[in-house]
Amino acid sequence: MKGNVRKIAIFGATSAMARGAARRFASEKAEFVLVARSAEKLDAVKADLLAFGAARAETVLCDLSDVAAQAAALDAVWNALGEVDAVLVAYGSLPDQKACEADTALAMREFANNGSSAIALCNEIGKRLEAQGRGCLAVISSVAADRGRESNYLYGSAKAALATFVDGMAVRLSKKGIRVIDVKPGLVSSPMTAHLKQGPLFASSDKVGAGIAKAIADGKTEGTLYLPGIWALIMFVVRHVPYFVFKKTRF
């Protein structure tokens, strides 16, 4: 099933969810280019994918929150793979909401990291996929994009900008035979959330990664994808809770 996705680029390859998705393709002997900031982390992920059976894994160092640095990474990816079957954009951070309220410059940096820099990257990837005339782009946004919550609305607003952008791009590129998926994971246990209390709604990053791989490989999923699927229902309710009720909730 995943056999037709052979060449994969991952931006933010050290994300736990990205690794979960990548392992599924690695088992089918796919080729990878992995992009992230830290050489040591990239090496660990590369070794993991090779152990799982990847035919090849190249690494590219890039701080993707720096839009000016993205072009070189994009060139490196396409030079290494020629044509790319699937691109996964998975980088981001979970900012400290309170610190962002106090420090506007920090808030804008976090917004750029999770939102605007990812939009810039997706715009460029969109162009390249369009030029290829084929391919699939999956972008990890978040359920936090669906409604501003007291505890993380800076993060939520950045992911909302990204999600809306990706949704629109999905419609545009769908007509050209290119699939774009806006992945909205719910609560995921990963190094990014290890410090939070993990309730029953937390899904493992491996499970969510498997869901992403399945959607990329099925040849038909596009647009918004909640993972695990129950979050489509949860967020439908959350979006429709009237403000005066929402205001009293604590989450």
Binding site: R19, S27, E40, K41, A44, V45, A47, D48, L50, A51, F52, G53, P191, A194, H195
Partner: protein
């Protein structure tokens, strides 16, 4: 933060919990506190707890490092679980070379407790199939340990209860299999003597064996049980469909009256009757054969808030056989040993660890709900029987033995302490008096 182990006793406060995510990340080893790795928390007692100290949570170290499809050599980070290895290995024609009764343990934990499984009489412990690991010491040193390199530290760390430092990654040898199935035979036995005879007769014919013993039977039925043996089957998933294994969750902590003499006896009676006739043969999937209890998530909640003790001892063949019968007599008279009672014989394969528990003889394991002093007194009495017969207790399952019993169970303790990391400690280690054999404080 309150942390407890699988036995839910004791519950202790760790001063700090640090989640590790990358092998190369620096850990600030503050000499003012103590450190201990904590994986899945599946040890039963306090060997994975560090009251007042720092727990280094290893579950985030879950990457595979290398795999050779030709030889089955696998290197993984210490937080990878045996379940993850099985899911990886089976489609590639491999299986775990040694596994305990749950697959929800990390590789680091499997080494630190030198766990054993149903094939101990053939393959030995988990340490026996571990070729090498990387150990981070609180000095910041990263040491490669194997049978030839840092060999002392290698043998101290295997079964070393996490006290020699933090295991970062390890290399193990997987075992080839064709598929996930086993040919299984279940045979009733009426006494301990019959059990030993079956172990001797079938041990050479079957790679895996384990027995359930009825901890409530008495009189003529004392020592009755079921001997379960298995070999890997040649059936592949193409030839036989994998069964659907339902996942049940024990939803909440059970009320404490649920487990009483009557319900325990009834369960044992039912389990005994499970095997109709004296012997049954069939094909079984590996999950129910190796991990029957993993089918019920959080089964430890059955014992309620108070938690439970698991008592596992090993007794030498010969003199220990009568002691084993004596233990069963006392357990049956007490009437509160629950139904998860396990008998197995350990074979000749020597455990590499200085503190490793498995050694040649008969091992008996069973659970007791924690009813405070009454339970503790009863278990101390069992200790007396075990000690007299020259037996030993399993530290990974212990929350209550005394220093003398610990010293008896770990005759190479004096050699071990030379390799202990000065900043690593655990609730168990302090409870047992931090033996240092004049090594200085």
């Amino acid at each position: 933060m309150t942390v407890c182990s699988w036995g839910k006793y004791p519950k202790v406060e760790a001063a700090a919990v640090q989640h590790l995510a990358w092998r190369h990340e620096k850990i600030d080893f503050d000499p003012a506190t103590s450190f201990l790795a904590h994986g899945m928390g599946r040890s039963y007692g306090d060997s994975c707890l560090n009251e007042g100290g720092t727990l280094l949570m290893t579950r985030g170290l879950d990457r595979f490092v290398s795999f050779d499809p030709e030889t089955g050599d696998l290197r993984v980070e210490a937080g990878v679980t045996l379940e993850e290895i099985l899911r990886f290995a089976l489609p590639r024609g491999y299986f775990l070379p040694a596994s305990p009764g749950t697959c929800h343990v990390t590789v680091g934990g499997a080494i630190a407790n030198d766990v054993h499984g149903k094939n101990h009489h053939v393959a030995g412990t988990f340490g026996c199939v571990t070729d090498e690991f990387t150990l981070l010491r609180s000095s910041g040193e990263i040491l490669r340990c194997s049978r030839t390199e840092n060999a002392g530290l290698f043998r101290a760390t295997i079964g070393g209860l996490g006290l020699t430092g933090l295991i970062l990654d390890a290399k193990i040898r997987l075992r080839r299999v064709r598929g996930p199935f086993l040919n299984v035979k279940t045979i009733q036995f009426g006494s301990l003597r019959e059990f030993l005879q079956l172990s001797k007769e079938l041990g050479t014919k079957y790679e895996y064996s384990v027995s359930w013993v009825d901890g409530t039977a008495h009189g003529a039925q004392l020592g009755r049980g079921l001997f379960m043996a298995g070999n890997h089957s040649d059936l592949t998933v193409e030839e036989r469909k994998e069964p659907f294994v339902p996942k049940l969750v024990f939803p909440c902590e059970a009320p404490e009256w649920l487990l009483n003499r009557a319900t325990i006896r009834a369960f044992n009676e039912l389990y005994w009757r499970k095997t109709v006739g004296r012997a049954v043969e069939g094909v079984q999937h590996y999950v129910p054969f190796f991990y029957p209890l993993d089918a019920i998530e959080n089964w430890n909640r059955m014992y309620g808030k108070r938690g439970f003790f698991q008592y596992q001892c090993v007794l030498p063949f010969g003199d220990g056989e009568e002691a084993c019968a004596e233990l069963l007599r006392r357990i049956s008279a007490y009437g509160k040993g629950t139904f998860l009672s396990v008998l197995k014989t350990f074979g000749d394969v020597e455990s590499p660890g200085m503190l490793s528990f498995p050694r040649k003889g008969i091992t008996l394991a069973l659970d007791f709900a924690n009813e405070g002093k009454e339970t503790l007194d009863f278990l101390s009495m069992l200790d007396g029987v075990v000690a007299e017969a020259g037996g030993a207790l399993y530290p990974a399952k212990d929350a209550r033995m005394d220093e003398a019993m610990f010293a008896r169970s770990c005759p190479r303790l004096a050699e071990f302490v030379k390799y202990k990391d000065p900043l690593f400690s655990s609730s168990l280690w302090r409870r047992l008096g931090e033996p240092n054999f004049g090594k200085g404080a």
